[in-house]
């Protein structure tokens, strides 16, 4: 046990409300056991959205490239709360993909190649806040960083910007995804990404 320093500790900072002491990760958190980096050819790539009632919309890579593409300049806030310098992406806005659809469900489950899932409220995907991104700083997104396409939601924790995205399923409730279910917390992001992910 460390030596106690008399009288120390009265001026400590408030700890973050979402980091209760001692309740972080368990030893057996499956950080790297969730599988290798998926390797998807754009010829085989497909993206779908499954709406309430089961209606599905699908896009092939060529379909995606034919949609309006935006340039997104943003700071990425990674899970460990360190900010990143400005980055430039290109992608298709989720608003474009959801155009003309009526959904009464307020939540989504994002599915990735490789089986990962993460949950995101619908409102965090709409109104210019999210994209399917396939280019980073002028280069096609490489598989290590989530390519050929990943979800990009700059205003949320970066681990919500799911790599290797393959689809969105509408959910009525805010059901937890794979990482959320596995007790994922601040320090356990397998996509632990610092300034340059």
């Amino acid at each position: 046990m460390a030596v106690i320093s008399r009288g120390f500790g009265s001026r400590r900072r408030e700890s973050s409300p979402d980091l209760p002491p001692g309740q972080f990760l368990t030893e057996d958190f499956p950080v790297l056991s969730a599988g290798p980096t998926p390797d998807i050819d754009t010829a085989d790539w497909e993206f779908s959205i499954v709406f309430d009632g089961g209606e599905t919309r699908k896009w092939s890579w060529d379909d995606l490239m034919a949609l309006p593409i935006e340039t997104i300049n943003t700071d990425i806030h990674c899970v460990t709360r360190w900010s990143k310098l400005g980055t430039t992406w290109r992608g298709v806005s989720l608003d474009t993909l959801f155009e003309g659809i009526d959904t009464s469900y307020g939540y989504t489950m994002i599915h990735s190649y490789g089986g990962y899932t993460t949950n995101v409220p619908l409102e965090d995907l709409m109104d210019g806040k999210a994209w399917i991104a396939f280019e980073f700083d002028g280069e096609p997104l490489d598989p290590e960083h989530g390519g050929p396409a990943r979800l990009l939601i700059p205003h949320l924790y970066f681990w919500k910007s799911a790599k290797w995205v393959r689809g969105i399923v509408m959910h009525e409730n805010d059901d937890p995804g794979f990482w959320e279910q596995n007790g994922y917390h601040l320090y356990g992001d397998p996509w632990l990404e610092q300034r340059y992910w």
Binding site: A2, V3, I4, R6, G7, F8, G9, R11, R12
Partner: protein, 245 residues
């Protein structure tokens, strides 16, 4: 000292033996650390405090003392809203125990066998490792030309002010730059360092000095950029940033 002490990655207990007010917000502390392996000029230590409920905080401090011996001297400046510096500058008293780890840092170090000339540039409490270097210079009888440029708000805010002035010698040149108010009798006006004042008050790049710059991050980065712009080889400019502006 002739050889670098081995690194100790483990914590050692230190007992505060004396505290002295040095500046309006700062104190000089002497610690007795029985197993201290000694340190080179410019090295620092990590200091760890543990509260009764187990909460811990660790901070790094440059060491003002140099050489062998179990007494370690630190100078601590108070940071507003800090967690540790208010404890060390206001609460801690002789007899209190804390833990230290070190000595640390093999790069921001001056040894008497290193070639000169040497330019030291310090901002605020960044002068502490530079004072250690000046003390080593004197203790070793070195004749390497040393020049110190110390930027500080007022002379009251200067750590080791009297000692620094007394260390001035044919081989140690001391220049103070007061940013807020100059002391009575001082020739020169108050103001922050500029590229021009740095050029005026430091060893020119043409003499190829080793330059040590220490202080808050913003200060160090500004000064280092000026030095490079003035022609100093970046490889000969060694910096140590504390954080902050």
């Amino acid at each position: 000292m002739t050889a670098a002490p081995s690194v100790t990655a483990d914590w050692m207990v230190g007992t505060v033996t004396s505290t002295a007010y040095a500046t309006p917000g700062g104190r000089v502390l002497a610690l007795e650390v029985p197993h201290w392996p000694g340190n080179l000029a410019g090295q620092h230590l990590d200091l760890r405090l543990t509260a009764e409920d187990g909460y811990q905080a660790v901070r790094s401090y440059s060491i003002a003392s140099v050489g062998f011996g179990s007494t370690v001297e630190l100078a601590v400046d108070q940071i507003p809203d800090g967690e540790v510096s208010p404890y060390l500058t206001m609460d801690v008293m002789a007899g209190d125990q804390l833990e230290v780890r070190g000595p640390l840092g093999g790069w921001f170090v001056w040894k008497p066998t290193d070639p000169g000339p040497v330019q030291l540039i310090g901002g605020g409490s960044g002068v502490v490792p530079l004072v250690a270097m000046m003390r080593e210079h004197v203790a070793s009888g070195s004749d390497v030309p040393f020049k110190l440029l110390y930027s500080v708000r007022t002379n009251d805010d200067a750590f080791f002010y009297d000692e620094i002035r007394s260390l001035a010698s044919p081989t140690i040149d001391v220049t103070f730059a007061f940013t807020r108010k100059t002391p009575y009798g001082f020739e020169g006006t108050a103001g922050r360092l500029t590229k021009e004042s740095v050029e005026r008050d430091t060893i020119p790049a043409s003499e190829n000095p080793t330059v040590f710059v220490c202080g808050p991050t913003g200060f160090v980065e500004a000064v280092a950029n000026w030095l490079v712009a003035l022609g100093h080889d970046p490889a000969r400019v060694k910096t140590e940033r504390f954080g902050g502006k």
